[in-house]
Amino acid sequence: MKKLVRIGLKDILITLRDVPALAILIGMPMIIILILGSALGSFGGDSEMARIDVAIVNLDEGDIGTEIVEGITEGEELEELFDTRVLDDAEDARKDVEKGNLAALLVIPEDFSDKINDSKPVKMNVFIDPGKEISASIFQNVVRSVATRISSASIAVQTARDVLIESKMVADEKDFTRHMDKVVKEITADDALSAIGVLGSDVEKEREITELDFYGTGMTIMFLLFGSMFGAFSLVKEKEEKTLSRLLITPTSKVSIIGGKMLGIFFVGAVQFLILFLFTVILGVYWGENLFGVFLLALGVLLAMTGLSVLFSSVAKNVRSVGAIAPLVVIVMALAGGSLFPISTMPEWLQPIRYLTINGWALDGLSDLMKGAGTNSILSNFGALIAMFFAFFLFGVWRLGCEE
């Protein structure tokens, strides 16, 4: 046992002296999480999106088209969001969208006002750049809400006309126009359509998991797994440089050697986790209230990672093979386990593959914790991680045994 701890300590010292390894284990994830933070804009003040380039071509001969243009170009909020140009030639403007110079283009057709006044259905055309789907969809939403407003007005007028004529208290169409102004004015008032609001999930008093939380935790787990690669390096090196056989000649058991190495790997991983955890907390990543649960899951991940390093060193003949296999395995696990994109984007039948990965079990548990789950609900995740540790470890030791 004493030997085991000594070997572990020696390996820890070696890793701590290896500046590039430290940089990768701790520096790089920090940089990436920082990038994520500023890219996704959850800290460091409001890092707003750049204004979206859009254009309007108004071919309408009536007034409504002009009102729409004014509404979109003069609203203060919209001005912050869009850099709107008013153009004359629809074909030219379309070409600009095609080239990616404009994210979206609104074309108001010639007979727009006429048709609305005649209560005939009419379409506004929005052309969007498939290369800027998100920006385009923001503009699309604005145009849709404008369309809903005009539709509301038109429907209010039509319904009012029907009802008043039915009441016979208004003599005819001409008599009705006296009332129409009032209808239009009221339905197009700023708060007219606020009777039914749409509330986001924030009213639920549950903390919403932000993208920063998602990537912060996902990346931390992914980089913890990179630790297995360094562990495997150190194991394989002893094999490659034949120092292992030398060590084995000394009265040191194989168990102490492998155990010591694993202890070293585990400890380095633990330090890495603590640093990344503190770092992400400072950046505003929310890990949930249940810190015990978080550390329990981290323990599971670290153990599974340690097992993985034994597995790597058993299947790889040399450092070169470890270098080829380990990062790929880590990245694939990250992909399938939801470290790089949310599981819910996968089709339902494919989602269970996350349970083949360390990331999947860990992130599953972490997201439960973020939503306020108790320790009990993540015990199965912890159990699965421990099971993975044993599976990797036993298989690795078995393979290593075969080699001797």
Binding site: S47, F127, E133, L335, S344
Partner: protein, 438 residues
Amino acid sequence: MKKIINLAWLNILQILRNKGELLGILILPVLLTFIFSVVFGNGAEESKVPVIFVDEAKTEYSRQVYEQLKEVDSFSVKEDTCADAKEFLTEGKVDAVVIAPDDLDSDILAGIGASIKVLKNPGSTRILSVVEVVNGIAGRMAANAKTSQIIQEVVGEARSEFESNLLPFMPGQEISLPQVPVKDFPEKIKAELSKTFPYLQADPGSEGLYWAADEKWEPEPPVSVEVEEVIPSEVRGESVVATGYLQFSLGFTVMFIMFIVLNGAGGILDERETGTLSRLLTTPTPKAQLLMGKIVAVFLTGALEAVILIGFGALVFDVPWGRNPLSLIIIVGTYLLAVTGLAVFLSAMVRTRGQLSAIGPVIAVALAMIGGCFWPIEIVSPFMRRLADFTPTGWAMYGLVDIVARNQGISEVVVPSLVLLGFAVLFFGLGIKFLKFE
């Protein structure tokens, strides 16, 4: 030249003989392309956005929300209880939960504010469309309610005008009525008049007005929005247009090419580490040729990887790669050069192969993020966008988005490919300058 080719061939064989690397180069990309095409490709059309509707109000109005949600083709809507819905959301099985709370009742006719709640799965990229649809539904319902309210008022005004007028108009009847305001008529006559004038005494029912207004939204609302993705006129209608989650499949391709190239670059350091380099240098092969051979091998491995990723996706899974293969080749080729240069540069910066293997994937992930491989570059802050201009991944993405998403021709790839070439020259220059070959 022949020697370089021979050396390159030798190095490729070395890479391919290593089972781990072979796995990484052949099997993994195929697997990934499979996953991408299932997750993000054309198959994704089948995966509708799962939405759960929770009806707490159980009124006509909440049913209306449900009916209209169901009409959206791209959603698959199920009704469930609130507790279950939240659990599904937590497990990430649904993108959104739409809740019609208790207050969604006849109060909305009186203009008392009500709300529809949307609980979002924060990881979902499709949440925007759900919110948009719910906004549309809320807008329509609010408009109906407001219309009903306004009409009540207008009818009230018309009535008081009518009542105080001297001469009510009686269509089709020649009876001359007394010259007094209607409101002064005896109750009996008023009741009689009500038969002809339906709203003389009672207001039209606000609920009836609500549904009368609602009918007018069908089959199409007075003003609708037609959205069209713009693709170049000369290919309209014939080429496969990339849809949906194209971003991811382009981005991950870009990332994986870099990943493989940086990994393969370990070979440059191999001989130095094992000491075979000094032996090789005693042969009449110049140092430069040795190095060239290795670099060519790394480049070709990356090219093989790219061909597998793109070809497999295109042939087997119908992943659209734009209409012009040449422009695709130019972009991918120059990107490969830039990345190979980066590999040489990194080889010069590290001491051992192990360090390179370790730093490679991390650099690939970092550059992929900054370059906009993981999420669209359009959503990030202006500063981050500027940063993307300094990465080869960023320029590869610009080029690929132009030729694949926008279906542009060869003229659009000139700038990105020149920039990528610039990266290549810079990295090669620095790399060869600092590479300690002995």
